[in-house]
């Protein structure tokens, strides 16, 4: 109905290749931007904003993981560890050298990119499940190393307190202040990803995913681009780790264990592999699901069971429903929320006519 190509003529390649060629899409994006920047922080409570903040952090990580898994076709179960690399790099730089946020953020990302590229080296020789196992090993090795090397973590089971982030002399203390910082981060990550996947690099990544032999014959150095995908993806993961650490105010190895890696994989699978909108929707879905379940059980669960059982059931229910959600998506809509959105959009393109 609103989403129509008819009547929109493009006379230059630049217009045809712009991010949002349709005027209606540009308007929709503008509305969403106004909502996010002006409306939501005005009307939402601190608690609701904290949920947004968690989603924004997750968006950065999910976008990054999707570059590797969705676009390049290389599986990683080690992204939780790459996040912890970023987190501890930033925490150590902030505490020991008293470096400001604008240095520790990219530093954490770059360190994670370095480690991520090293973990990606076996990807030239091994594929699929075998690569998944190598990255799983990397997750465990990095986790163990961080926890057991006092130079990095300050000792076993110790957390490092980090100061609140500040930019240009402004200190982000409350959830409302952090909201703007994290919105900026998620926005920059989204735009960077959109640009990346429509450029020469993004096409090379998809080529490796779709047909690695044909990619080589068109002149793509597979090893280089696989490592690059690992590095870029891990950079995003490292930045996610830094943001989360600053958000919480402490760096702790327990925040980046294997379940985090699985959570992020779930986000991109539920959201839709190989798209930019998918990870954003997936990040929101996976972040809000446990909150939604807790709310539902707290209001309705009392009818079914007593309080003690309820307290025990809620965390397990989250894991169960999570698994159910992934299975459902894999069976019903393997291309995830992104495909659902596109299907409904295409339906309304011709509505009220059938074609």
């Amino acid at each position: 109905m609103f989403h129509r190509e008819a009547g929109v003529f493009k006379t230059t390649y630049a217009a045809d290749m712009s991010l949002f060629p349709l005027p209606v899409a540009r308007k929709a994006i503008a509305v969403i931007c106004v909502l996010l920047v002006a409306f939501i922080p005005l009307v939402c409570s601190e608690y609701q904003l904290s949920q947004f903040n968690l989603i924004f952090i997750a968006v950065v990580g999910a976008l990054g993981l999707n570059i590797l898994v969705g676009y390049t076709g290389q599986i990683s179960i080690g992204h939780g560890a790459f996040m912890s690399v970023g987190a501890y790099t930033a925490a150590n730089l902030a505490v020991r050298l008293d470096l400001p946020f604008w240095i520790t953020l990219p530093a954490g990302g770059l360190m994670a990119a370095l480690i991520g590229a090293a973990v990606g080296v076996p990807s030239l020789r091994i594929k699929g499940l075998y690569l998944a196992i190598t990255t799983l090993a990397a997750q465990l090795i990095i986790e163990w190393t961080i926890n057991h090397v006092p130079f990095i973590s300050g000792g076993t089971q110790v957390s490092i307190p980090v100061p609140k982030p500040s930019l240009f002399g402004f200190q982000f203390e409350t959830q409302r202040e952090l909201y703007f910082l994290l919105l900026l981060a998620a926005g920059v990550a989204t735009i960077a990803t959109l640009n990346l996947v429509r450029s020469r690099l993004g096409r090379a990544f998809v080529a490796i995913r779709d047909h690695d032999i044909a990619a080589e014959i068109t002149g793509i150095d597979i090893f280089r681009y696989k490592l690059l995908a690992f590095a870029i993806s891990s950079f995003y993961a490292g930045v996610t780790g830094v943001l989360y650490t600053y958000y919480l105010g402490i760096a702790n190895y327990e925040q980046f264990q294997i379940d985090v890696s699985i959570d992020f994989l779930a986000m991109i699978i539920i959201g839709g592999l190989g798209s930019v909108l998918g990870p954003i929707l997936g990040a929101a879905f996976v972040t809000l699901l446990p909150i939604f379940i807790r709310g539902l059980m707290q209001s309705m669960g009392g009818l079914l069971m007593n309080e003690n059982t309820l307290a025990a059931v809620i965390p397990n229910l989250r894991l169960t429903l999570f698994g159910v959600a992934i299975i459902l998506f894999l069976i019903v809509e393997p291309e995830g929320l992104n495909r659902l959105w596109r299907n409904s959009r295409n339906y309304f393109r011709f509505w009220p006519f059938s074609y």
Partner: protein, 284 residues
């Protein structure tokens, strides 16, 4: 021959004229663009290619024919770098490429299509062809991420090049369709387009007409001749359709059981007793 040009070089249409003019020079058909000397490939005890030598003259269309299992695709795989030769040398434009990687060979100016179509199914026709421009583009990570102003200019310049190929191969109406959704004949054409976008000086075609009907074969034969004559691209192709091979080739090389049994002009090869024996069996 012109080297891969910068993005702001002359358009393909202009270069076509240049290529046609250049093709009148005596250099054409005389100097080999590719020479293969004593090439062998063994897989364990199996000898796929045994001591094969051939020279592909610049500007020519050379066909490799032979019964199934003769080693044609293995030979092509060695030229394009997927197999390491067990023995022998491959020289492209006076450069030894026997040990080069496929992506290095592609950037030297050798394009290739595959027997079983190898398109990037998730990408559109346009993006498939743009991928062929990969070796001519420069944008790195930072430029790609920032895009506006930096990578955008390059993308648009190369888009213009791709549109010429799209026009040449008459793919205009499907340029935004995903490659996986296309019928067989069109996918073969898109694959040719992607190989052309690399701007190769030598194009290796592995059964470009395999599985096509008569009309599609005629179309493809015309495209091959056009690419060869207007763009000045040397062709080395494997094909089973003898009618097409004899019609369009300047030179035919016959392989049997990994060995070269004949080479020469189509008419000579057709009359060669060794070739007849290989295809039809020996007479007593």
């Amino acid at each position: 021959m012109p080297l891969p040009m910068p993005a702001d070089g002359p358009l393909i249409a202009e270069r076509r004229v240049a290529a046609v003019c250049a093709s009148d020079q005596s250099e054409r058909y005389v100097t080999p663009i590719l020479t293969v000397e004593g090439l062998s490939k063994r897989f364990g005890g199996v000898v796929a290619v045994r001591d094969v030598s051939l020279a592909v003259p610049r500007g020519s269309i050379t066909s490799i024919i032979g019964p199934n299992g003769a080693g044609k695709t293995s030979l092509l795989n060695m030229i394009s770098g997927f197999y390491r030769p067990s023995e022998g040398r491959i020289t492209f434009e006076a450069r030894d490429i026997s040990r080069s990687r496929p992506n290095q060979i592609a950037s030297l100016g050798i394009g290739r299509t595959f027997q079983n179509i190898a398109l990037f199914g998730g990408l559109t026709v346009l993006d498939n062809i743009l991928l062929g421009r990969h070796v001519h583009m420069r944008a790195g990570v930072l430029k790609s991420v920032i895009y506006w102003g930096l990578a955008a200019r390059e993308e648009i310049a190369h888009r213009a090049r791709c549109e010429e190929i799209i026009e040449f191969l008459r793919l205009q109406d499907i340029r935004k369709q995903p490659a996986s959704a296309l019928p067989y004949g069109l996918r073969k054409r898109v694959e040719l387009g992607r190989a052309l976008a690399v701007e190769p000086r030598l194009l290796l075609l592995d059964e470009p007409m395999g599985g096509m009907n008569q009309e599609e074969k005629e179309n493809m034969a015309r495209f091959i001749l056009d690419v060869n004559q207007e763009w000045g691209v040397t062709m080395l192709l494997i094909e089973h359709d003898m009618g097409v091979v004899m019609d369009i080739s300047d030179q035919v090389v016959v392989l049997d059981s990994g060995q070269r049994i004949a080479a020469g002009r189509p008419a000579d090869v057709q009359a060669d007793p060794a070739v007849i024996a290989a295809y039809l069996g020996k007479t007593r």
